[in-house]
């Protein structure tokens, strides 16, 4: 029996040690001295994804600009919600940053009541890049333009299938928005992320694909890209018209940036904002982003707060319509 208790004590000791590691107390320091120790940059997704690639690109520039080491850590789960729930509970001392994706941080609290954070709790530092969402069909499809697609969907309500990432993801919302604007009905098939949806589409399982620009650039030769959700012509795909130019007043994309917990000192936010935005001016960085199919964006704290608010209003409206039906 004694040994059993010993084992239990051992387990508990282990727990306390780890608990202590997790809650290293935040110090109160003058924002002027910030940063005076290492900064944790949390990625709410698995390593190797687009958010990770972006963080890895930023890391050396950040370390140079801030004069402190920046440690990247992963907190995947729930499409990012686990990482963002952690972020809003962290000390607002500027030593814990997290990657931030729009529309994820807007759609998750809107679609599930038990999401562990509110959109407003996530304080954006900057938005640095985006992947506009494009609409594509197979290379040998009889559809040649967005107008063709709409026509086909009108003639056969509910029978045109479209692949994209999960329900209430950016892809799904773009799909719903297009359906609404064009007055058609199609069938959305959600996949577990962008890569599986591309694979299912390439295998001929769906007729249409909603995909990030980075994937479209990669597979440009294997599919017909009908339109893209950027504001203006997307540089890496100069021949593809925007959805707007095709007559539907909408933009669609995933924006990526970085955020801090609520209550962070404005001086700290300003310092971080400058460090992140300056990276875009480093020689070669923008070209690298374009080559990978990203659209560089330079949006500071204030602009980002406003942007998120506008998007939230727009998405709430679309979701209300869908859920109202």
């Amino acid at each position: 029996m004694k040994t059993k208790w010993l084992a239990l004590v051992f387990v508990l000791c282990g727990l306390f040690v780890l608990g202590a590691c997790a809650n290293s107390a935040g110090s109160t320091e003058d924002p002027e001295d910030y940063p005076s120790k290492k900064i944790t940059y949390s990625i709410p997704f698995d390593p190797g994804g687009q958010s990770d690639v972006e963080a890895r690109r930023q890391q050396p520039y950040l370390e140079e600009a801030l004069g402190q080491s920046v440690v990247i850590q992963y907190k995947p789960g729930g499409g990012g919600s686990v990482g963002w729930t952690e972020l809003v509970d962290k000390d607002p001392d500027g030593y814990f940053l997290s990657g931030m994706n729009i529309p994820h941080i807007i759609l998750q609290p809107l679609s599930n009541d038990d999401t562990g954070y509110e959109t407003e709790d996530i304080v954006p530092v900057a938005i640095v890049q985006a992947t506009p969402i494009g609409i594509a069909v197979s290379k040998d499809s009889d559809i040649n333009s967005l107008a063709d697609l709409v026509e086909k969907a009108k003639a056969n309500p509910g029978s045109v299938t479209a692949a994209g990432s999960g329900t209430y993801s950016g892809h799904h919302l773009a799909f719903l928005q297009l359906q609404d604007l064009a007055g058609v009905e199609m069938q959305y098939i959600p996949f577990d992320g962008a890569a599986p949806s591309v694979q299912a589409f390439l295998g001929g399982n769906t007729e249409v694909l909603f995909a990030n620009s980075s994937d479209l650039v990669k597979y440009a030769k294997d599919m017909k890209i009908l339109a893209i959700g950027s504001e203006e012509t997307f540089k890496p795909l100069p021949d593809v018209p925007t959805i707007k130019a095709e007559g539907y007043d909408m933009t669609a994309g995933i924006d990526r940036g970085v955020a801090v917990p609520p209550g962070t000192d404005p001086a700290i936010i300003a310092k971080l904002e400058k460090a992140f935005l300056d990276i875009l001016d480093e020689p070669g960085v923008m070209d690298e982003m374009y080559a990978e199919g990203f659209e560089p964006k330079k949006m500071g704290h204030d602009a980002a707060v406003e942007y998120i608010a506008t998007k939230k209003e727009q998405y709430s409206r679309i979701l209300e319509e869908v859920k109202g039906n």
Binding site: K4, A7, F10, P47, N112, D113, S159
Partner: protein
Amino acid sequence: MLEFLPDIISSLTNPINLLLMCAGVIAGIIVGALPGLTATMALALLLPFTFTMQADTSLITLGGLYIGGIYGGCISAILINTPGTPSAIATTFDGYPMTKKGKATQALIAAAVSSGIGGVIGGLALLFLTPLLATLALRFGPPEYFWIAMLGLTMIATLSSGSMLKGLMGGAVGLLISTIGISPVGGESRYTFGFSPLQAGLELIVILIAFFCIPEVIGMIESKIKQKKNKEVKKERGVARKLFFYIIKRPILVIRSSIIGIITGIIPGAGGNVAALLSYDAAVRFSKDKKEFGKGKVDGVVASEASNNAEVGGSLVPLLSLGIPGAPPAAIILGALMMQGIRPGPDLLEEHSGLVYTFLVAFIVANVVMLIFGLMGSRYVGKVISLPVYYLAPSIVFLTIVGSYAIRNNFLDVALMIGFGLLAYVMKKVGFNPAPIVLGLILGPIAERGLAQSMLMAKASGNTFELFFTRPISVVLIALCILSIVGPLLSTIFRSKSKIDEEIQG
């Protein structure tokens, strides 16, 4: 390919590349052997260091690490019944019983040899069959995923050891807990009880540790209290050579396991764990002495290890040919390529043929390196379990806690591991085998996603029957399902009949 031979040779004879390959393999084996630290994590940690390397050096190092990591998982699976990586789950079925019989070294050597052979076969397939296999990968759509999950679930029959009813109940529990979190189709939260951290669902590795390791550790302490001594590792000469020939003499077992591994690998979404389970199941079904499996039969270890290492090669097929990673570690290699300014995609093989072929040849060499290190290490690593229980048990508990936390940097996982671990102990006491539960947990999401997506596709096309029952790969999978369910029933009926005949005649 031959025109790239000079490139390949110059890259592979570069001492730095060779050194880093060996370092990668060794680091991979160590990380893989620690429960909770996976090949994916090791690759992610190494990724920033590869940024400054040459493209070929970076890929060779990462490839070595990946191979070592998948192999390393078998060490803890064999020694302490804890799969170091999910791929090694089927290795526990016979590997740990071997250890209990004092044959840990044999199990480790068998694992090293079969991993090496499986890995080389996977590498050769990757080198020569990539374009062919890529087309096959694209043939797997939602209905095929559904049927492959169904085929996997029929394995409950093989894995329930003892009571089929308890096996089915365990499988159902596994399927049920796999639904915790945000649903893959529909997006609503399920079984979170308003507790937001549960939105991410249960992490497979945490549950693996809980169900396989914790009951064993408690059992270890119990047997210590009852003054039972742990079996010493028996010393035997020439084991490696004997086992090597034992495995070589069973080419069908090794080749079948490798083929299952490669095919499972090319299907994105089904990883080494599914590969090893399917191949173990096949080994049991085709074997003449089925009863021996689960009690420490070398063939079980061989089937599992050959297939999960062949899967590594398979998982790189869709990455190199389509730019789609076939498994989570392959996703990190994709990240590494992007950081080198190489865009993986359908054109990779054409635009960077020299680099790709160098990587592929290095990949095969790294498997041989792994085999050598594995054989050398087996002699010493096996000694770990002869440590007294009062050192061994606490160290294992410590490792499991660190591992559970590290996998997602999440404290909740430690609590879940302890909670499910105690539950697993109680369930084992009343005769539930953990394997069907974990099987349900692994296959549940694949089955659910496949079914829901297929139903949506059927809704659009208006023909459910055609979608589920007429696609060629689906038909093959359905036939395998039926065989798998009906086969054992028929043989039981046949056997009992002949018994009755004998009785009548006698």
